[in-house]
C-alpha cells in the first residue's frame, strides 16, 4: 500500500468536504475520491495507519451530517444520469444517499432504488 497516495486522497476528500455547497461541476469528484478511498479500505484495511482511519471516519461523519448541502449541488438530470450509468450506489453509502434522497424528493420513495443498477 502506498500511504502517501492514501493521505493525498484523504486531503482531497477534506478539501471537498470543506467546500460543500460551492463545488460546482467538481461535486461528483467528491464521490469519486471517496470511491478511491474505499478501494484502499477494502483491500488493505489492516495496514492503514490508525490516524488515517480516524481522519476518514471524522470526514465521513461530517459528510453524512451535511449531506443535504452536498445533495443540493446536483440537478435531477445529473442524478437520473448517475442512476443509469454509475453502478456503485448499491454498495457505497455516498452514492446510495444521493440516489435515495432524490427519489424521495420526486415521490418515488426509497425502496427499490437499485432497480436500474
Amino acid at each position: 500500500m502506498n500511504t502517501k497516495e492514501l493521505e493525498k486522497l484523504v486531503s482531497k476528500y477534506e478539501g471537498y468536504i470543506l467546500s460543500m455547497g460551492e463545488l460546482g461541476i467538481e461535486a461528483v469528484e467528491l464521490l469519486s475520491v471517496r470511491d478511491k478511498i474505499e478501494n484502499y479500505l477494502t483491500k488493505v484495511y489492516d495496514v492503514i495507519p490508525i490516524h488515517i482511519l480516524a481522519e476518514i471516519m471524522r470526514l465521513d461523519l461530517i459528510f453524512k451530517e451535511e449531506f443535504e448541502i452536498f445533495r443540493k449541488e446536483f440537478s435531477q438530470e445529473e442524478v437520473a444520469h448517475f442512476q443509469k450509468s454509475v453502478r456503485k450506489s448499491a454498495t457505497h453509502w455516498w452514492w446510495h444517499l444521493l440516489m435515495a434522497h432524490w427519489r424521495e424528493e420526486i415521490g418515488l420513495g426509497t425502496t427499490g432504488f437499485t432497480d436500474n443498477l
Partner: protein
Amino acid sequence: MQFQPIQILGRTITPSKVNQIIQQASAASWGTHLKEWKFKDVRYSSYFYSKGDLIPTQLWHLLKRIHVDKDWPEGTTLEQFDEEIRQTITNPESIIFVYGYYRTSPPRLQWGFYDIETGIAVVYDEEANLIVTVFKPVEGMQFFQLYQVNPIQIPTKLFF
C-alpha cells in the same frame, strides 16, 4: 471517414466550431469574483492566506491544487499554471468532450479538455467564455465520459 456535424442542446458542432472553441478557450480567463479560502494557511509569492480570506478565483484554484489536492508541486506560479491550461486545451492529443451543464436552466454548453499524459482536466464554459475549473480527476477522463450528462467525445483525430 468524415466528421459528421453533431447536434447538442440545439447547437451544431462542426470541425470549424471545435477549432473556434479551442482558440477561445486557450485565451479565456477565469471569473473575476473572489473565493473564500477555507483550508490551512498558505503562502503565494510574498503573501500569506488564511481561512476566511477572499482570493481571486484563479489563484484560489492554484493554491487548492498545490496545498489541498497536492496534484501540483509547491512553487508552481500562476504563469506556469496558465501555460499548463493552454497546453491542455491546444494539445492535439487531448481528448475533447462537449456536454450540457444541467445545473442552470436552460442547461449551458460546457467543454472538457483532458490530457491523458498529464491527467489535467480543463472545463470551459462557452457561454460565459470562462475557465470553470482545472484539476486532475481521480478517475481520469471518466469525469467527463461517465459523470457528465450525455457527453459527446469529439473525434478530433478525424480533422486535426
